[in-house]
Amino acid sequence: MSAETKSPRFDPTDPIFRWVSFGAATLLLVVLGGLIASLVYGGWPALSTFGLEFFLKFKDCPAGHGGHFCIDTPWNPVTDVYSATAPIVGTIVSSFLALLFALPIAIGVAVFLTQFCPRALAQPLSTAVELLAGIPSIVYGMWGLFVFAPWFAKTIQMPLMVAASQDPTSWGAKLVAGIPNGANLFTASIILAIMVLPYMASVFRELFRSIPAQVREAAFGVGATPFEVTTSVIIPYVKQGMIGVIMLGLGRALGETMAVTFIIGNSHRFPKSLFDSSSTIASTIANEFAEATSDLHTSALVALGLILFLITFTVLAIARWLLSTQRY
């Protein structure tokens, strides 16, 4: 009779194991919850002090200004007044520029590796691209600081500014105005682009490879050229997944700290031109947090972190949702 009530399979370690592993899974949620709670708690003093002005603060327009309103972007540890507008704008603009540069090249690399590359070369090249995706971002940042920024200032920025000085009022001159030291919004975006490029290229390649061979062969079978197969069959087939990957890349670029901090110039105002210094949320936190002067300064930085979290969380959630519903 006891065999029925007590199955031979019963093992007292089973429920313990279930609870322990359940606890580990729950710990992940606790960490994420704690992360959000700590950002809200730490950022609250700044948010309640400045209210909506933390996000958008108006000021009196200077005389002779044609616009209807002017936005103030204070970030002043001396007077303890902070506004997040400039870092938010810097974060979004640099990330979008980076994606703009990286996206066509990443698609090109993925198409080349899946379609045109000689077989003997495709595997090593793909592995190389994947390995490069793992290089720590501080290495990209150092390269930007020591190699790319000086080169850019000397061979691109200076000649452009000299050319623009012929006609200082043209839009071209306004676009390239700035301090010619190579540390600006544009170079930071290029470094960001180089950093997200291997990641995006390798995920695009995975996505293209996931397409059933019959689909591709059918298109070739009716006489389509590789260009037509790519644009009318492959890309539409994985369109949703590609948008997901783009959003993942965007999420990376938005939150990237080290590749940007070295080279964006770190000034808390709206970038007035493409070659003007700027700042991102992550670079501001990295630069100032350990040396924050007042409690309100620390709190303003944590509140910036909260904004960054909300932006990246939204982007990543959309990305995951798109990728999980992609048909294969």
Binding site: P8, R9, F10, T13, D14, I16, F17, R18, V20, S21, F22, A24, A25, L28, L29, V31, L32, G34, L35, S38, L39, I105, G108, V109, L131, G134, I135, P136, S137, I138, V139, M142, L145, F146, V147, I194, L197, P198, T225, P226, F227, E228, T230, L248, G251, L254, G255, T257, M258, A286, F289, A290, V302, G305, L308, F309, T312, F313, L316, R320
Partner: protein, 285 residues
């Protein structure tokens, strides 16, 4: 123009653009690797491993930073592997199909790609900031290790779940048929069969955290002196690189490049090892 010719031309232009794009990408990355190796090897010498970080103008190495990085990554990885394998096993074998399981999986993915600097802020508020009963009240190696653990755990969880899902159900049925309990089946059959895959997950997590700078900036902070005590501020390679790269002193910049080379070689080595293990396993099937 003839239609066939036009299609052919468009195709050639397209192939050309793809080749150019690949050349630009690989060229840029090759330039970075070239700088890394040429500058890094220039700064490489035995003193890197035997002397601590110097003040500008005096001789020194990176010993304290290397030891700090190894200690914090090591402690972080131990936590990440234990929590990650258990959580991944729960998702794959026990509760992954429940609503709660779906939530855990989704939020794990979010945590996986959350900006690492926010993890640093969180751990600062939790373990460094004074007004908190849990807090140590000062910068410490523990805080750095916990930050790294939080970064690596989602990776280990994810790979563990993926690897366990690849194990054939016949293995689980075989365990049950022998009358083994679920825990015994998982421990002695599933985990064993997935062994090298689990190791790969751990290695990928390790590769990710060993170059992380942002979460250490205001948790472990850094330390000019040799310190093996995790409850004190601790130097790490990435933070030392960050600080030294931003100084105007050439000798410190050189040390930063040497550190960058060390970190990059470690990350690449661990990644290659992980891939090789994963491939060995696949070849064995």
């Amino acid at each position: 123009m003839d239609r066939a010719l036009r299609r052919k031309l468009a195709n050639y232009v397209f192939i050309g653009l793809c080749v150019i794009g690949t050349a630009i990408a690989l060229g840029a990355l090759a330039l970075i690797l070239w700088s890394l190796f040429s500058q890094g090897i220039g700064g490489m010498n035995p003193k890197i491993f035997t002397m601590d970080t110097p003040a500008a103008g005096s001789e020194g190495g990176l010993r304290n930073a290397i030891v700090g990085s190894i200690l914090m990554c090591g402690v972080g990885m131990i936590i990440a592997v234990v929590v990650g394998i258990l959580a991944g096993t729960w998702l794959a074998e026990i509760g992954g199909d429940t609503t709660y399981g779906h939530i855990v999986r989704f939020l794990n993915d979010v945590l996986l790609s959350a900006p690492s600097i926010l993890i640093g802020l969180f751990v600062y508020e939790l373990l460094v900031f004074k007004s908190n009963p849990l807090s140590l009240g000062h910068f410490s190696g523990w805080a750095g290790a916990i930050s790294l653990a939080i970064l690596a755990t989602p990776i280990v969880t994810r790979t563990t779940e993926d690897i366990l899902n690849l194990q054939p159900n016949a293995l689980r049925e075989a365990g049950m048929a022998l009358g083994a309990s679920q825990f015994t089946t998982i421990r002695s059959i599933i985990w064993k069969a997935a062994g090298s895959g689990l190791l790969t997950g751990g290695l990928l997590g390790f590769a990710r955290i060993s170059g992380e700078t942002a979460p250490l900036l205001f948790t472990a902070l850094g330390n000019q002196f040799y310190n093996g005590n995790l409850s004190q501020p601790m130097a790490s390679l990435p933070v030392t690189m960050f600080n030294f790269a931003l100084t105007p002193y050439e000798d410190l910049n050189k040390l930063a490049w040497a550190g960058a080379l060390l970190v990059a070689v470690a990350v690449l080595g661990v990644n290659i090892l992980g891939r090789w293990l994963a491939r060995e396993k696949n070849a064995g099937h």
